[in-house]
C-alpha cells in the first residue's frame, strides 16, 4: 500500500504523539537499535576509514555512472539475464506486468524491495486483479493490515506484538489473544512456505549491483529472497540505478557497513550473490531511474544517491523516533527520505525538509557520509525560492528580517514588546500560540543587555 495521505508531517506527528506511552515505546525500541549500531561501529577501529572508503567508491561510481551501468548491462546479458530500463515507476510496473501477462502468471512472491513501494507496484497489480505476496515478515504484517511500511529496514516497527497477534488472528486464523512471538512467527512461516512453493514469479530488490561481473547481491535476514528466487521459474530483480558498484571487491567495504549500520549485526544472515539464471529459469533485472538522473544533476543533492538504505539515519533521528514512519507519507521516510522525496515531488513533499531540527546526528551515522542535515537546509532554501512555503510563515519571517536589519527599530520593538515577544513573530503570529501550549515564556527582564551595558560599562 502506498501513501496518499494529504496530511503534513507536523499534523501526522502530533496525532502519533497523542498516545504517549506508545510513542515512548517506539522511541526506546529504535534507540535500542541505534545503540546496537554504536556498539558494532565502535567495535571496529577502522570504522571511520570504512565510511570514507564507501563514500569515495560511491562518489566515483556516481561520477561515472553511465559507463558502469552499460558495463553492468553488458555483463549481465552475457550471463543470460534480460536487462530492462525503466524511466519511471509506471514504466517499471509496465515492464513487470508484460512479463506477468506473457507467462500467464497469477502467483507472485516478493521479498523486500523499497523500490517497488516507491513505484506503487502492489496497488498497480491489485488494480489489475493480481495479488503479490510480500514475504519479508514485517512487510507481510503491514500488507495484511493494508498499511505501508513505516521503516525501510523494519517495516512493522510501529506495531506491537499484540497488534501482530490481532492481525494474524484475522487473516491467518491464529488463536485470539495469543501473542507469543514464537507461535506467531511459526504461523507466518507455515503461511509463507505455501506461498513460496506455489509461486510462479519471485520479485526481489537489489542491494548492490556489480558492474564488472553483471551479478548482484541481495541482503536479507530471513532468507526470503532466496526462498522465492530459488523456487520460482522466473526471477525479476528491481533496482534503482544508484545501486551500482564497480567491482566485487568493493562488497568487502559495503557488506561490513550495511548490517552494522542497520541493526548492529556484523553482517546480514543472508548475503546472496545472484549471477545467472539456473537451467530452465528466467532472470530479469529492471533498472529504474524514476527521478534519479534529475537528482544526479542537482549539484547540492547529488550525493544523496550514495545511500545504501541502511536506515541508520531513521534510528538515530529524534524526530523520526517520536513521529513514526507514516508521518513522512512517502515510501522512504526519515531524514534520507526527506532529502530524496522533494526531488520526486517538490509540492507534495515540501513539508519534509522542515521535519528536522538539523541536529546533524543523521550525517554522523551515515555509513556513506551523506551530508543529510546540510541537504535538509539546502532543500529549505530551494522550496522557499520555488514558492512551496506557507504565506503566513513567509510574512512572519519577512517582518522579522526587516526588523533585525534595522538596529534602531529592533531596539524599539524590544522595548515595546519584550513581554509579549513581539520581536519573534514566528512565536506570536498565531492566535493559538504554539510555544505557549505546553511551554512557559521566558520571564521578561526589566532591561536588555544593551541597556545594562550602556548604564554600567560604556565609558
Amino acid at each position: 500500500m502506498s501513501h496518499n495521505s494529504t496530511m503534513k508531517h507536523a499534523e501526522a506527528a502530533a496525532n502519533f504523539i497523542k498516545d504517549e506511552p506508545r510513542t515512548n515505546w517506539h522511541d526506546e525500541t529504535l534507540w535500542f537499535v541505534r545503540q546496537k549500531r554504536d556498539k558494532a561501529a565502535h567495535g571496529l577501529p577502522e570504522w571511520e576509514q570504512l565510511r570514507e572508503w564507501a563514500s569515495q567508491i560511491k562518489q566515483h561510481t556516481l561520477s561515472n555512472l553511465d559507463n558502469y551501468l552499460l558495463e553492468f548491462e553488458r555483463n549481465a546479458k552475457a550471463n543470460g539475464v534480460t536487462v530492462h530500463w525503466a524511466t519511471d515507476g509506471a514504466d517499471h510496473n509496465r515492464i513487470i506486468y508484460d512479463i506477468i501477462q506473457k507467462n500467464n502468471i497469477s502467483k507472485i512472491v516478493k521479498s523486500k524491495s523499497m523500490l517497488t513501494e516507491e513505484c506503487g507496484f502492489n496497488e498497480f497489480l491489485h488494480a489489475k486483479g493480481i495479488v503479490t505476496v510480500d514475504t519479508d515478515l514485517g512487510e507481510r504484517i503491514v500488507q495484511l493490515r493494508n498499511e505501508a511500511p513505516s521503516h525501510i529496514v523494519l517495516p512493522a516497527i510501529h506495531l506491537k506484538k499484540q497488534d501482530v497477534s490481532d492481525t494474524f488472528h484475522e487473516h491467518l486464523n491464529t488463536e485470539k489473544g495469543n501473542n507469543d512471538p514464537q507461535y506467531l512467527t511459526e504461523a507466518a512461516r507455515q503461511h509463507l512456505r505455501e506461498k513460496f512453493i506455489e509461486a510462479e514469479l519471485a520479485i526481489t530488490g537489489v542491494n548492490f549491483a556489480v558492474a564488472e561481473t553483471g551479478g548482484f547481491v541481495v541482503c536479507t535476514n530471513e532468507g526470503n529472497a532466496d526462498m522465492g528466487a530459488h523456487a520460482a521459474p522466473i526471477h525479476i530483480a528491481c533496482m534503482g540505478f544508484e545501486k551500482m558498484i564497480p567491482k566485487a571487491e568493493h562488497l568487502s567495504v559495503f557488506l561490513r557497513l550495511l548490517a552494522r549500520s542497520a541493526t548492529g549485526q556484523p553482517i546480514t544472515t543472508y548475503s546472496s550473490h545472484f549471477m545467472k539464471p539456473r537451467e530452465g529459469q528466467e532472470m530479469h533485472i529492471v533498472i529504474v531511474d524514476n527521478g534519479r538522473s534529475r537528482q544526479l544533476g542537482r549539484a547540492d543533492f547529488r550525493n544523496s544517491l550514495k545511500c545504501i538504505r541502511c536506515a541508520a539515519c531513521f534510528n538515530t533521528c529524534p524526530v523520526y523516533r517520536r513521529s513514526g514512519g507514516h508521518s513522512y507519507h512517502t515510501a522512504v521516510a526519515g531524514p534520507i527520505g526527506s532529502i530524496l522525496n522533494p526531488n520526486i515531488d517538490m509540492k507534495a513533499n515540501a513539508d519534509l525538509p522542515f521535519a528536522s531540527t538539523l541536529c546533524g546526528s543523521c550525517s554522523n551515522v551515515c555509513p556513506v557520509k551523506i551530508d543529510i542535515h546540510d541537504q535538509l537546509w539546502k532543500w529549505r532554501q530551494v522550496l522557499v525560492s520555488e514558492g512551496y512555503v506557507d504565506s503566513t510563515k513567509k510574512a512572519g519571517l519577512k517582518g522579522m528580517a526587516f526588523l533585525l536589519a534595522r538596529p534602531g527599530l529592533y531596539r524599539f520593538a524590544g522595548k515595546m514588546g519584550r513581554s509579549v515577544m513581539r520581536l519573534f513573530p514566528w512565536i506570536v503570529n498565531n492566535k493559538l500560540n504554539p510555544w505557549y501550549k505546553q511551554r512557559k515564556m521566558p520571564a521578561p527582564p526589566k532591561q536588555s543587555f544593551r541597556d545594562w551595558y550602556l548604564q554600567n560599562k560604556k565609558q
Binding site: 507536523a10 506527528a13 502530533a14 504523539i17 504517549e20 510513542t23 522511541d27 554504536d38 565502535h42 571496529l44 577501529p45 571511520e48 529524534p318 524526530v319 517520536r322 513521529s323 522542515f354 521535519a355 528536522s356 531540527t357 538539523l358 541536529c359 546533524g360 546526528s361 550525517s363 554522523n364 537546509w377 529549505r380 532554501q381 522557499v384 510563515k393 519571517l397 519577512k398 522579522m400 528580517a401 533585525l404 534595522r406 538596529p407 529592533y410 519584550r418 519573534f424 514566528w426 512565536i427 504554539p434 510555544w435 501550549k437 505546553q438 511551554r439 512557559k440 521566558p442 521578561p444 527582564p445 532591561q447 536588555s448 543587555f449 544593551r450 545594562w452 551595558y453 550602556l454 560599562k457
Partner: protein, 245 residues
Amino acid sequence: MKVGLFIPCYIDQFYPNVGIATLQLLEKLGCDVSFPLNQTCCGQPMANSGFASLSKSCDKNFVSNFRGFDYIVGPSGSCVLHLKEHLHDEQHPGEAEHIRKHVYELTEFLVDVLKVEKLNASFPYKVGLHNSCHGQRGLHLSSMSERNLPAYSKPQQLLNMVNGLELKMPTRSDECCGFGGTFCVFEEAVSVKMGKDRVADHQQNDVQYITGGDTSCLMHLEGILKRNGSKVKTIHIAEILNSNA
C-alpha cells in the same frame, strides 16, 4: 587582544544575565572586550527556515558592527555556527571572511584560544550538561556518540574547573532537545516531546540545574520545566563559569 562581544538577539532581549556573565568572564580573563552597539541578529532564524535570501541585510549589519576585531565571541553555539557557515557581505567580502574565521563560541574560545586551565569559580550544585547539537556536531565542542573518535568535551573540561560543582551526564548524552529554531512552533508536538524527554533524562540524576552553551535550547527546556512546575532550573554555562558563590 581586542574581542568583539556578540550577544545574540534573544539573549539581549530575554537573558541579559547571560550577556553580563560572558562579558565579565572574558574581562576577568584579561580580554579587551567591546560590545558593538548596533548589533542585532546573526540571521539564522530566517536562513534555517529557508529564507537565507532575506538575511542579507542582517549579514551586512553584522559585518559593519564586527569588523576590526581580533576575535568575535558569543555565548551561543548555534548562532556562531551559522556565522561561520553562512555570513557573507558582497561589499565587504574580506571582512566577512575574517569574521567567519575568527568568530568563536564562548567555551571553545576559552579552551582553544585563551587556553584556560584554572577558573576562580564556585557553584556547589548538582548540574546536568545539555550538549547542544550545533555546538557539538557543528562546532565540535565535544566528541559525538555516533562517531568512532577519541572522547573529549570543552564544556566539561571547563565545568570540571568549577569548585563544588557535581557534573551529571544524562543517559543519552547528545540527543537533541527539540528546539530547532522555528521547528519549535511549526512542529510543536515533536518539539515539546523531545524537550520533555531530555528533561526526564536529567531529572533521573536529581540535578538542580541544567546547563549548556545555547540559551535557545535552555529557553525551550526552561519553558517545559516551568510549565510542569519543576524545581530544576536552567542556567547558561557562562553564568556558572563566572559565578563566585
